[in-house]
Symmetry: C2
Subunit: 449 residues, 2 copies
């Protein structure tokens, strides 16, 4: 498909050929070209027709890829078409602080603050006590939260479990922070024992702890209450800062009664969540909320007269369309709609896990999670076809609102059919994944009951 997109651009090419870009690892990926437009009405029409042709084929390609997507935590089912059509002609930019109107008038702060207020209410912090903004992605939320932590405790050590999202370790490196990796349980949850042991070695320095509300690969939830307890019992009272990375589950967990609660009534410093994951959005975005007392530490240094605002965000210019879409999505769905969607995801995740197990495929589904982890299909083409995220021996499907029973059935059918062919109709060799997802979930010859 990508090949055909490029080929359709042949007429645009300076030398009538497509361009093969020497990619570092993906030498085969074909990219498009940008060529100098020729002069004259006919040439312009031909060029516009070529561009149109590329886009039409690209849309077909996107449709197919969207249809076959299972692996990443993005809800691909949304419809903002009419909103976007209204706004696509404007350059909406919320540069600077969301609460301080800049001189640039084409912004959407009134929508952004509405979205922030909604999250502040969800996480139980008063309007006057919080600060936050709509970010360009989950990573920006983590970068911001951890930066606040570092500014509060400049010599603090960052603690994060080894199954933490890679952006947290990137933050440590960017910010030149000492960083300690903490072991995890088989579920993917942080090991309290190891956290405690590592805190005790570094008693002399404050602790900045990243708590995962849903790890990237296994969807495991670190127990926030237990982490706080360990910190307070081990001499870190008033000497710790907690950032909750709730990228995916931040919008699902509040709707499960039995889930540990994320709330600013507990001594946490910041929470981040993605906007394009559970809610769904045509562009990556997110939200970070922190306490206004902390934020003041950062913003005091960053008054920018040129903006007539404060440079308190990681990015400068900020996409103003995303807050309008989030405002639209949250207004239409409400808590009730989100609860319903979250519960459906959980039910469908259980359905997928059971279908895998009854087909003899090892699988793990953590409680309160819609991330189904299972043995990695051995055929890379199949992994790519269904866009599965993989790590070592395991792959996962994140059941989002757009992953229906019908889609799961289609996936299972193809998986089982293909699996036969991978072993050429002979005996299917089931790999041992006990170390990855626990003995009790492993169906290999040695562990199956």
């Amino acid at each position: 498909m990508l090949g055909s997109i490029a080929n359709s651009l042949v007429e645009l090419g300076e030398d009538n050929t497509t361009t093969m870009v020497p990619l570092v690892n993906n030498v085969g990926t074909t990219c498009l070209t940008i060529t100098e437009p020729e002069v004259g009405k006919e040439a312009v029409e031909a060029r516009d027709a070529s561009i149109e042709d590329v886009l039409v084929k690209y849309v077909e390609h996107l449709k197919e890829r969207t249809q076959h997507h299972l692996g990443y935590p993005y809800n691909l089912d949304f419809d903002y078409g009419s909103v976007i059509a209204k706004l696509s002609g404007f350059s909406i930019n919320n540069l600077g602080d969301p609460f301080i109107e800049s001189n640039y008038g084409v912004h959407s702060r009134q929508f952004e603050v509405a979205v922030l207020d909604w999250f502040a209410h969800l996480w139980e912090i008063n309007k006057q006590d919080y600060w936050g903004y709509v970010t360009s992605c989950g990573t920006e939320g983590n970068l911001h939260g951890i930066l606040v932590g570092r500014e509060v405790f400049p010599d603090g050590i960052l603690y994060a479990s080894k199954e933490t999202h890679y952006s947290v370790f990137k933050a440590a490196r960017m910010y030149r922070m000492e960083c300690v990796k903490v072991e995890t349980l088989v579920s993917g949850e942080i090991s309290w024992e190891d956290l405690q042991a590592k805190l005790l070695i570094n008693r002399n320095k404050p602790a900045i702890v990243n708590v995962n509300i849903g790890t990237t690969v296994k969807g495991a939830v670190d127990d926030l209450d237990k982490v706080i307890q360990i910190l307070e019992r081990n001499g870190f009272k008033d000497r710790f800062y907690i950032h909750c990375d709730s990228a995916l589950f931040g919008l699902m967990m509040p709707f499960f009664n039995q889930a540990p609660k994320i709330t600013f009534k507990k001594p946490i410093g910041s929470v981040s969540v993605s906007g394009h994951k559970f809610i769904g959005c045509p562009m990556p975005c997110g939200v970070v909320i922190t306490r206004s007392i902390y934020e003041k530490k950062l913003s005091d240094f960053n008054q920018v007269e040129y903006l007539a605002s404060v440079d308190s965000t990681i990015m400068g210019s900020r996409n103003g369309l995303a807050p309008v879409l989030l405002w639209h999505g949250l207004n239409r769905k409400g808590y009730k709609g989100l609860r319903k969607a979250a519960q459906k995801c959980l039910r469908n995740a259980i359905y997928l896990k059971e279908r895998l197990r009854e087909s003899g495929i090892s699988a793990l589904l953590n409680p309160l999670s819609s991330t189904v982890v299972f043995e990695r299909p051995i055929d890379p083409a199949f992994v790519q076809q269904w866009q599965l995220a993989c790590e070592g021996n395991i792959a996962h499907v994140v059941v989002m609102p757009n992953i229906t029973i019908a889609k799961i059935d289609g996936f299972m059918e193809e998986l089982l059919e293909m699996r036969e062919t991978w072993f050429r109709g002979g005996k299917i060799v089931k790999p041992c994944v006990a170390a990855d997802i626990g003995r009790e979930n492993c169906l290999c010859e040695q562990h199956k009951i």
Copy 2:
């Protein structure tokens, strides 16, 4: 207008009132609300009608604000409506490295690499020698370039003129880098003398220098060749890294023959440019290009199996729509179209400067720049009406392709009319701005010839 938007949401409010958010400085700004949707067909219809009403009014507001915008370097004249309409239903995300296809299939890498190739060609670096990506804004490009510089020279000192964009100083703070502010000339250009003096004090450490290709406020261009000469003559040969912040002018300068050339044939490390400025784009974006030998230093640490790509970018999830729009814009405009637009901006900037001067208003227009700096209008309402960017005694207009002669005339007419009223028909007091824009440009009583 904002008030009326909020008022139109009254029916949505839990308590039938609009919400006034306690803003740090902008207590008066009214924001919208998100409320729990009621159940029932009629309630849903009423809510959808309210949302529609808010959006229709918001669009009117954006139109008016777009019409009256002069101060920030954004080209508000673009039309990607048909492209966006086709793509707004997809969650296009280029997470990870542009050159290494991730397992997530709904991406636009084939467009992104085409855009990068175009810029690599513009800045004269071979395909195999460069690395880069489409960023979420100009700041991200600066953050990336300076991070590469720091990784190349971990103990390097960052040098940046005091009129450098605030994101560069933010980078220094985030990255815990020693940072030396260099004095500027009245034009806004970096002072070579001061740069040399400060380099000599810190001879023992490598230099990471931010070179401005168009400063934020005065649109001044630092002389890249002179900076390189100073570094090499003062014992920094092979011990320096240069990042060029070309946020705005990166796409205009190449089209002026007499301009100093930005090229990787010179010993520079990275260049960043904004996509939403001169080209125009409904969402902030940009491009950063660096040498692949440097990038390898960063990416070796950041292989992420989960992505099947490399976490070599500052942000994780990356807006995949922006590269398609840039590809579309560049393909349609081409070098010829951009040259024509850049020359028009320069002509219109000269026209504005002359109109100001002949009206007795002090003004500065640097060579090769379309940023017209002039005495700050004393009425904050006027500044806000025209969305002028201000600093101290001066304001500026950045003449972008959407700033036509007619718009300039309208602005001048209103400025002159209002200026009379500010002095109640009496003698107009012309402030001295010699310190800001030079004696020769100042028309105050003392300096006018």
